[in-house]
């Protein structure tokens, strides 16, 4: 359970008081303007098209899904889900069909009512390959969407699974009366994509790519008017500049503060910190295939005893402390602690340099070259590590790991590559080690793509290290197809034990992000995986209002 932060409990109490006390005067002092400072722009404004965090943020403020997982992030069954555009739902007998009744008061920003055709349009946009939607691989279980009548749709699934409702929550309806006329695959370059008409609690006012995006509150929204009148995403390519704007109050929110800036925040009374769980984990992955000929097994790393020896020669705790002080924890496995299915009782190879040296000697890597690198049959123990240049933390981690491996006689070469080229190099498998990282969702379904065996149909697309374990795949399969949560968890635990013993990677760290928000806003309960979804419930303290908070003239 994530540790509720004491101040945020006080905050919720103040929130309730404010709501009861003086609803009257809140209206004319305005709900305030929230400026989100970010180092990356929103790449697209439509849910099916977005890939970056900024894109998710903006598209999920502009569009509402049918249903949404609750604050507990319980993705199993449907108990933990709140209704959005779908007021209510019902399951078919064989629980392969879910029928949703749409909320009659839900309207598009241009006044049209939200109807069944819109849900089908939303689903079709995800399925269209040319749109390159990242949620495509997560909705493969949905076979089709049928319009029953004006306000009812039914969603047909290929197979029963515990997370069917979570899959449904990934579908964002699109205004069919605007989208159906766009030819297949041309959605991303359409006028609609640049000036979307949404169903969410905010609408688009203006957009200046790579500079800023401005949203305004939708007055008559079916879920009520949101607190803040305006929300803006302001982009600063240089992270230090983006963060600096917090200290000068030129911006209000920055969602993942680097450790040194967390210390700095303490010196600024007008900034409040929110600590939450992270949804990204970083690891040093091994390549099971020979980079020079991917059909052959890796001559060195294919042997689990060597992988274990390498794991033992890395002092994870001191690396995490050096990089993040207390703002990250050693990795728990191929998942994050915030995921309900995660298992924090796994035992990973502990740091033990002497054991590592002994193991390496045992494996025949005895002779030492001039620079201390171990040799076997004339071959030096050299490992090429692929590191993404844009991620400062991973670059520094690579330098620390490199030095620790040098201690046990392993020569690790750091190959820094920029963002785009990193993806290509990762998939090409032209490396021995990879400082990789995955963003996850409350559901652990992503693990099929990242660690699932490639032999398994549709699995292992991102498993560029070629880790293949039939036992692991079988356990996962069983977990996903079981209906009740308890049996599902049992299977997942078996899968995690198997993968832990195989040591396909060294689970380096899982960042516990700290976000900074201007203290003039009182915050609702902070959703770790998507904090922006509750921005509507932010309340401005009228006494600390800033010039930009004045109620905007009717635009």
């Amino acid at each position: 359970m994530r540790r509720a932060f004491l101040p945020s409990v006080l905050k919720t109490a103040a929130l309730i008081l404010a709501a009861i006390g003086c609803t009257g005067d809140e209206a004319e002092s305005g709900g305030g303007t929230v400026i989100i400072s970010s180092a990356a722009d929103a790449d697209a404004l439509l849910p099916p098209l977005r890939t970056s965090v900024g894109g998710r943020m903006m598209s999920e403020l502009l569009f509402d899904p049918l249903v949404e997982v609750g604050p507990e992030l319980n993705t199993f069954g449907d108990a933990g889900f709140a209704s959005r555009l779908a007021k209510s739902w019902s399951w078919s007998a064989d629980s392969l069909v879910i029928t949703f009744a749409l909320d009659p008061s839900a309207h598009w920003e241009d006044g049209h009512a939200v109807v069944g055709r819109d849900v089908r349009a939303g689903f079709a946009a995800i399925r269209e390959p040319a749109n390159g939607s990242t949620t495509l691989s997560d909705v493969t279980e949905i076979d089709s969407v049928h319009v029953v009548d004006e306000h009812t749709v039914s969603m047909h699934f290929r197979a029963r699974s515990a997370e069917q409702m979570y899959t449904a929550s990934l579908v964002f309806p699109l205004p069919a009366h605007l989208v159906d006329t766009i030819p297949a695959g041309a959605l991303s370059t359409s006028a609609f994509a640049q000036h979307p008409v949404g169903s969410g609690r905010y609408r688009l006012v203006s957009r200046e790519p790579t500079v800023r995006i401005e949203l305004a509150a939708v007055a008559g929204h079916y879920r009520g008017r949101p607190g803040p009148d305006r929300v803006a995403l302001v982009v600063s390519k240089e992270p230090s500049t983006a963060i600096a704007k917090l200290w000068t109050e030129e911006a209000d929110v920055f969602d993942v503060l680097p450790p040194p800036d967390v210390a700095e925040a303490a010196m600024h009374p007008h900034v409040q910190l929110v600590r939450t769980l992270g949804f990204d984990y970083t690891f040093v992955g091994f390549n099971f295939r020979d980079p020079r000929d991917t059909s052959r097994a890796h001559p060195v790393l294919a042997d689990v005893r060597l992988r274990r020896a390498i794991a033992q020669s890395i002092d994870g705790t001191s690396i995490v402390r050096a990089l993040f002080d207390t703002l990250a924890r050693p990795g728990a496995g191929p998942f994050v602690r915030a995921q309900a299915a995660g298992d924090t009782t796994l035992v990973h190879p502990a740091f033990d340099a002497t054991a590592a040296n002994a193991a390496l000697d045992a494996l025949g890597w005895t002779k030492r070259g001039r620079d201390g690198t171990r040799m076997r049959a004339g071959q030096r123990l050299v490992l090429r590590a692929l590191v993404p240049a844009p991620s400062a933390n991973r670059v520094r981690a690579a330098v620390l790991v490199q030095e620790q491996l040098r201690g046990v006689g392993i020569d690790m070469h750091v190959e820094k590559v920029d963002g785009q080229a990193f993806g290509a190099a990762r998939d090409a498998g032209a490396w021995d080690l990879i400082f990789g990282g995955w963003g996850t969702t409350p559901s652990i379904r992503g693990i099929r793509g990242t660690w699932g065996g490639r032999a398994h149909k549709g699995w292992g697309r991102l498993n560029s290290g070629n880790y293949a374990s039939t036992a692991f795949d079988a356990a996962l399969e069983a977990g996903f197809s079981s209906l009740d949560t308890a049996t599902a968890r049992g299977h997942f635990r078996d899968a995690f034990r198997t993968i832990t013993d195989d040591v396909p990677a060294i689970w380096l760290y899982e960042v516990m992000p700290v976000s900074a928000v201007n203290a003039r806003f009182t915050l609702p309960r902070w959703r770790p995986e998507a904090w922006w979804r509750t921005i509507a419930d932010w309340r401005l303290d009228p006494s600390r209002a800033m010039p930009r908070d004045a109620r905007p003239k009717a635009k």
């Binding site: 990242t134 305006r230 600096a244 995955w438």
Partner: protein, 321 residues
């Protein structure tokens, strides 16, 4: 004279074509393609990427792509920018004026102040102050400009809160004519950080040229006619001494357009430098090609303006092409 300009225009067109062609090929060689999603997000399937590449014609051979691109550009159609989600022409139209504003101010500031100081240093070479300022100039030129930028950002903006941290205007601040003071307030730091090293170079060039002209015979002849020192400096010496500085200005203006990458990056000024860096990092092929086209056009215009200014400053050039 007119024939000279015509010839220069022809050569310029050739240069622009050469630049766009080389960069068009270079960006294609870079691994990774525009449809790779951000670093760690679960990426799209290879089939989806293949589909998208086909739709934009990126799977055709490079030469064919270039020919198609060249014909499109001729029709004024610059293609679609994936990283910005808008047509390239729109992106360039929005970015060029901002770049010109920053580069233009910095350029004018640098050269007016630079030449004035340089001329003064050259004319009174003996004075200690002239030598001292020249020393300072040399130091300013030697500090890498991104260190200057970062220090300028951290000091005045952050520590003393004199200037905004970055960007072009205060969020939700006044717009339209009322927004101008706010815009200037944002312009000060980036323009200064850009102008200072160039001013130092311009001053040193002007100083050298002035030293050369100071002892020229026609200066002594003017003095013999009874002309006052100020008149000699302004009417005779400065104009002849401007020649090398103008030549440098021509080259420098062109290098500035794209060259302010780091300054625009640190100060978040949405100019051409920042756009190009982002485009290259996102492998946004059409945007890179479009941006390079614009920057090489600017280069050509810059050098041509400098040539014309040179013709004004040095009548001897007027005869030859």
């Amino acid at each position: 004279m007119r024939a000279a300009l015509l010839l220069r225009l022809g050569q310029a067109a050739l240069v622009v074509l050469l630049v766009v062609a080389t960069c068009f090929a270079l960006i294609r060689l870079a691994p990774g393609d525009p449809f790779f999603s951000a670093l760690d997000e679960s990426t799209v399937t290879p089939e989806q990427r293949a589909e998208q590449r086909a739709r934009f014609g990126y799977d055709r051979p490079v030469v064919e792509q270039f020919v198609r691109y060249a014909t499109n550009v001729a029709r004024g159609e610059f293609g679609w920018s994936h990283s910005r989600g808008e047509p390239v022409s729109l992106a360039l139209a929005a970015t060029i004026p901002k770049s010109l504003l920053l580069v233009g101010t910095a350029f004018l500031l640098a050269f007016s102040v630079g030449t004035a100081i340089g001329a003064w240093q050259g004319w009174n070479r003996e004075s200690l102050l002239a030598r001292a300022t020249d020393g300072v100039g040399l130091v300013l030129v030697s500090i890498p400009d991104f260190v200057l930028a970062v220090l300028a950002l951290m000091g005045p903006a952050l520590a003393w809160r004199l200037f905004p941290v970055g960007g072009m205007r205060t969020e939700f601040g006044p717009t339209g004519p009322a927004g101008v003071p706010d815009l200037l307030h944002h312009l000060v730091l980036p323009a200064l950080t850009l102008a200072v090293p160039i001013a130092a170079v311009a001053a040193r060039l002007q100083r050298a040229a002035m030293l050369g002209v100071r002892d020229a015979d026609f200066v002594r002849a003017a003095r013999a006619r009874g002309a006052s020192e100020t008149r000699i400096v302004t009417r005779h010496a400065l104009r002849n001494a401007l020649v090398p500085v103008l030549a440098y200005a021509g080259v420098q203006f062109s290098a500035l357009i794209g060259g302010v990458v780091i300054i625009e990056q640190v100060f978040d000024w949405p100019g051409m430098g920042r756009l190009m860096l982002g485009a290259v990092q996102a492998r946004d092929y059409p945007l890179v090609a479009g941006a390079v086209l614009v920057s090489s056009l600017a280069t050509v215009v810059g050098t041509m303006v400098a040539d014309i200014a040179l013709l004004w400053a040095d009548p001897r050039q007027r005869g030859r092409p």
